[in-house]
């Protein structure tokens, strides 16, 4: 089994724990959006701050391991690299979905706080900004790592031996001949 099958740069091949945490917090946000309890907002804000600290630690560890990605890719087969790229992309998509859901809920919370209990609005804003600190660096990390792996794989790819397109009409002719998308 190659290194990549065991997880790219230490990322588990199943679910990144932080993504699961994010989904759990999104569920809390959904509950909070149904009530206007300042206490509940405070609890969520505190919980999110803790998650951010966990994520920062987790990311620092991943980044440390990602420094040896060149060696890991060099000792892996193309199939292993492809599987790792697919897995990273899957995680990015999951994380993006969780982020979109959270962002939607944050907006609802803010709107509700502004309308019903203006005193809780700063708390709702705090939740939004903490959520942003949480998701963005993780998404960027997954994206950068995937992109780096793809670049390393492309560096060692054999020379291309397909058709050469030299003009706009060559491009048009090539695309016209492609089989229809399924």
């Amino acid at each position: 089994m190659g290194a990549l099958e065991m997880g790219i740069a230490g990322l588990p091949s199943a679910q990144v724990p932080s993504i699961r945490d994010m989904q759990a917090v999104a569920a809390s946000l959904a509950d909070a959006a149904l009530s206007d309890s300042a206490l509940q907002l405070r609890r969520i804000a505190a919980e999110m701050r803790l998650h951010v600290r966990d994520i920062e630690r987790e990311l620092a560890e991943h980044r440390r391991m990602a420094r040896s990605i060149r060696q890991i890719v060099a000792s892996s087969t193309d199939e292993e690299v492809d599987a790792a790229v697919d897995e990273l992309l899957r995680q990015e998509r999951m994380l993006r979905e969780a982020w979109e859901q959270t962002a939607r809920l944050c907006r609802r919370l803010e709107a509700k706080a502004r309308q019903l209990r203006p005193a809780t609005y700063p708390l709702a804003r705090q939740i939004t900004t903490t959520a942003e600190r949480w998701y963005r660096p993780y998404l960027q990390f997954l994206r950068d790592l995937r992109w780096e792996i793809m670049a390393l794989q492309t560096e060692r790819a054999p020379p291309a031996d397909g058709p050469v397109l030299a003009s706009s009409s060559d491009v048009g002719a090539y695309f016209r001949k492609l089989p229809q998308p399924s």
């Binding site: 979109e100 963005r136 291309a160 695309f175 998308p181």
Partner: protein, 88 residues
């Protein structure tokens, strides 16, 4: 400027839907006419000698590799670059 397609690129291209293919086609045409056109965001990949990326949608890129012939690039692969960018 000329572009030689790799087997991987052709395979990935065939997997795209019609709309995406159209965008790739437009980007390749533009690249052959004017590689530095701002819409293409044609740029070197930092830390990777001879590798470049070319934008065909806001979040998708084509990987190009330079060859020993100055006017010939290889289109090596394509795919999503930036899911992050799409939610900003």
């Amino acid at each position: 400027m000329r572009i030689r397609l790799s087997a991987r690129f052709e395979k990935e291209l065939r997997a795209l839907d019609g709309v995406q293919r159209e965008r790739v086609q437009r980007a390749l045409r533009q690249f052959l006419l004017e590689p530095r056109h701002p819409s293409l965001h044609f740029e070197k990949l930092r830390g990777h000698e001879g590798l470049y990326s070319l934008r065909y949608t806001r979040g998708d890129r084509i990987f190009l590799r330079a060859t020993s012939e100055a006017d010939l690039f290889e289109a090596q692969r394509l795919g999503p670059h930036d899911l992050y960018d799409r939610i900003k």
